[in-house]
């Protein structure tokens, strides 16, 4: 296949940045999207040109590093799929593809398609844990947990922290991410005890780090590569209300 790519090029957070048009003349349908970009970079490097910077690591949809908006949609719009798992067979010969970084005030561009997602780490650091010390914990079976609860918690734990939910949201809200973390722990007996402090601290950290509020667009769920459900935002709100009134 032959494709025409319009790729966002930006040299650091203070550069204005622009779209650059680059041809990808020889794309195989079995290639992944990132492998297609590898080929683009190989050609650029041989010409002595600056290669397109993009984050990636596991290339199998678990680390959450890959962060590209493809044709306006974070991760490219295939349901429950990260950019690294997107394959070129989803495109056709002659297609033009727009490739941009996550765009959100809370995610400054480092270079080209690479953004700084430290804001999400700050939310985690504010309370995305149980305050147990290492060593000397109770037997895991001493706390029986019903299967439906364990499954619900696991659904929330699917989140890989990629930030697509923020990138797709008109308000740059991180509430799907935060909701997933809050819900995962709030329903488990080992996490329940700190639920109130956790939800307050994480919500506060989201505000402080430039993330907005949810106004029910549900773009986050649509672009989430792990199918994290917006019901966790409702859970976040409920937990928040509970913490407010107690």
């Amino acid at each position: 296949m032959k494709l025409k790519l319009h790729i966002w090029r930006q040299n650091g957070p203070n550069d204005k940045g622009k779209l650059e048009t680059i041809d990808a003349p020889n794309v195989s349908p079995d290639q992944s999207f990132l492998e297609m970009l590898d080929d683009v970079n190989q050609a650029l490097a041989i010409e002595g040109k600056d290669v397109v910077a993009f984050d990636h690591d596991c290339r199998e949809g678990i680390c959450g590093m890959c962060s590209q908006v493809i044709n306006g949609v974070p991760h490219g719009g295939q349901e429950r799929t990260t950019v690294c798992q997107l394959h070129m067979r989803k495109f056709k010969d002659g297609d033009e593809i727009f490739i941009e970084p996550w765009k959100a005030r809370a995610f400054p561009v480092i270079k080209d398609l690479v953004v700084d997602r430290d804001g999400l780490e700050k939310i985690m650091q504010a309370g995305g844990y149980t305050s147990c010390h290492t060593g000397g914990v109770a037997d895991g079976n001493a706390l029986p947990i019903g299967k439906p609860i364990a499954d619900y918690s696991m659904d929330a734990a699917e989140c890989i922290g990629c930030g697509a939910c923020v990138a797709s949201c008109p308000n740059s809200s991180a509430m799907l991410f935060t909701g997933a973390k809050v819900a995962q722990l709030a329903v488990l007996p080992q996490g329940k005890i700190e639920a109130q402090r956790r939800v307050m601290a994480m919500t506060e950290a989201a505000k402080e780090n430039g993330f907005g509020n949810c106004s029910n667009h549900y773009e986050c769920q649509a672009s989430c590569p792990k199918g994290v459900d917006v019901k966790f935002i409702a859970k976040l709100n409920r937990e928040y209300m509970k913490a407010l009134v107690t």
Partner: protein
């Protein structure tokens, strides 16, 4: 220990699967005949990692840990034989930074990306371990590499990495290939039951499809070498769920492995509920690594090495689910005690980053970077990496021989020399530069690859992940030589192209007798 670890993870909020009574559920895994592995959907490893990440986040908030993100460790600073700190490159700005400490801990992962294609993340490299080796730390048993049987086969030359399908699939999937080579092109459904060779069940009746990784991998390779492989390039075998779906229902299989089937479909465009998956072995884990003692300290005092980066625990072969167990044990339960013992004997802050050795180290790192950037040849780091990987996979991969290893020992230095004359690294140091990062990592892989190969040549026996074709039984099983090789091979690097020195640490078994385990 493993139960403590599970308890720890439960306390962190890792959502392990529970049965209807609320107790932790478990299932069996490769190399084990009983159900004893706890799991969290098809992503146990990922969930344990997220648990550790959340515990780390708590420490960051508490101010006990300071994170330096996007830094790459490019040298170990050793003063009078003692590890005193590291030199890093800030991967955003290119700045070279010195960090001092009363002890240094490396938890920098494994090295199987030396094969180029592997299941490891793209960022995995031997660099941190190798920089330590260059400063005197011994590299132990580097030839012990694990080739994992259940990976998605390669699609073509543009492939950048291979995807692992969790081993748990082998609980309910049956491995087979056509009995007749002429059937290989046919759709799987057109091949009758009688014409299928369930090779693992045939060869290992008691373990069957749950035979350990090295054995399952080699068996798959044998079938493909015998021209009975399936899929592109005929490097693949079937993993068939039809029987389990009939026995348990598609829904049960979906509940157990839904996300894996989905991932498989994304990559191959095939629906594994309707037709068998295709799998092929791929490099996955390094049992070898930096030598450490029982305290996880290397032979360089003050340098501790944890997790996959060290050589401990697994010997020549690692069984399913034990890597994370080791990593978490090292980090949660070993190092807190052993490092305290070490720190009790050192004067805090005795050597800081104003010491001459830090400046020297930073200058060396800068000189290496300048050298890489100045060559301006005609081949990119990724081209060189593919070439190195091909040599390693073909000559030092699943089956190694005296001949193939000696060939590799000619090819690797030749390619390394070409690299240092002809690599093209675009961009500058003072920017976010992934080409430069890759070139640096590759330079280390080149030196390391030679030691891995030498270790494989030295070890005149077959054991675990190391299979020498000269040393096998009549029916193709690994043959150990306990008489001569019952030792850890710890290599001391003496410079590129210089013969490394072998230190042998004898393996003593007081309470068990060495025996050959049969999986038949």
């Amino acid at each position: 220990m493993s139960n403590n670890i599970i308890d720890q993870c439960v306390a962190q909020g890792v959502p392990f699967a529970r049965d209807y009574a609320g107790y932790l559920d478990n299932r069996s895994f490769g190399g084990a005949q009983v159900s004893r592995t706890f799991y969290a959907r098809g992503q146990t490893g990922q969930q344990l990692l997220l648990g550790a990440y959340s515990a780390l986040s708590r420490q960051v908030k508490a101010g006990t840990v300071k994170l330096f993100e996007r830094r790459e460790m490019l040298d170990l600073v050793v003063v009078d034989g003692v590890a005193r700190g590291i030199t890093c490159r800030n991967m955003v700005t290119g700045e070279i930074e010195s960090h001092w400490g009363d002890a240094v801990i490396l938890a920098t992962g494994g090295y199987v990306n030396v094969f180029y294609l592997s299941t490891n993340a793209m960022g995995c490299s031997v660099t941190a371990a190798w920089k330590a080796a260059r400063k005197g730390a011994y590299m132990a048993n580097p030839c012990y590499t694990q080739i994992h049987p259940t990976c998605i086969p390669q699609h073509g030359d543009q492939q950048s990495k291979l995807t692992l399908m969790s081993e748990s699939l082998r609980n309910d999937g049956r491995c087979w290939v056509p009995k007749k080579a002429e059937d290989c092109e046919k759709p799987a459904g057109d091949i009758s039951e009688d014409d299928r060779d369930y090779f693992l069940e045939r060869k290992y009746p008691s373990f069957g499809n749950l035979a350990p990784r090295d054995i399952a991998s080699r068996a798959a390779k044998e079938q493909c070498d015998d021209e009975r492989g399936v899929g592109p390039g005929k490097r693949g075998v079937y993993l068939d769920f039809a029987d389990s779906i009939n026995r348990l229902s598609e829904d049960t299989i979906r509940e157990r492995y839904g996300n894996l089937f989905e991932m498989y479909e994304k990559i191959t465009d095939e629906n594994a509920y309707k037709q068998p998956m295709r799998i092929y072995p791929a490099p996955h884990y390094s049992m070898g690594g930096l030598w450490v003692d029982y305290n996880c300290m290397s032979n360089v005092p003050g340098l501790f090495v944890l997790g996959e980066a060290n050589f401990s625990v697994h010997g020549a072969n690692r069984l399913g689910a034990s890597a994370l167990m080791q990593g978490l044990a090292d980090g949660y339960f070993v190092i807190p005690y052993t490092i305290a013992g070490y720190l009790a004997g050192v004067k805090p802050g005795e050597v800081k980053d104003d010491h001459e050795a830090f400046k020297q180290s930073a200058d060396d790192v800068k000189a290496d970077i300048d050298k890489l950037l100045s060559i301006n040849g005609t081949k990119t780091p990724s081209e060189f990496h593919r070439e190195l990987g091909k040599i390693m996979w073909e000559k030092v991969g699943m089956a190694r021989s005296d001949e193939s290893l000696k060939e590799a020992l000619k090819l690797i230095p030749a390619l390394r020399d070409e690299f240092w004359k002809n690599v093209k690294v675009v961009g500058t140091n003072e920017q976010f530069n992934q080409e430069l990062e890759n070139a640096g990592r590759l330079a280390d892989f080149f030196e390391f690859a030679e030691i891995l190969t030498k270790d494989a040549l030295n070890r005149e026996e077959s054991c675990g992940g190391h299979f020498r074709t000269e040393h096998q039984t009549d029916d193709g099983e690994a043959m150990r030589n306990d008489e001569d090789f019952c030792y850890v091979a710890a290599w001391e690097f003496k410079g590129a192209g210089v013969e490394p020195e072998l230190h042998k640490e004898p393996l003593k078994f007081d309470n068990v007798k060495l025996a050959v385990r049969s999986y038949k």
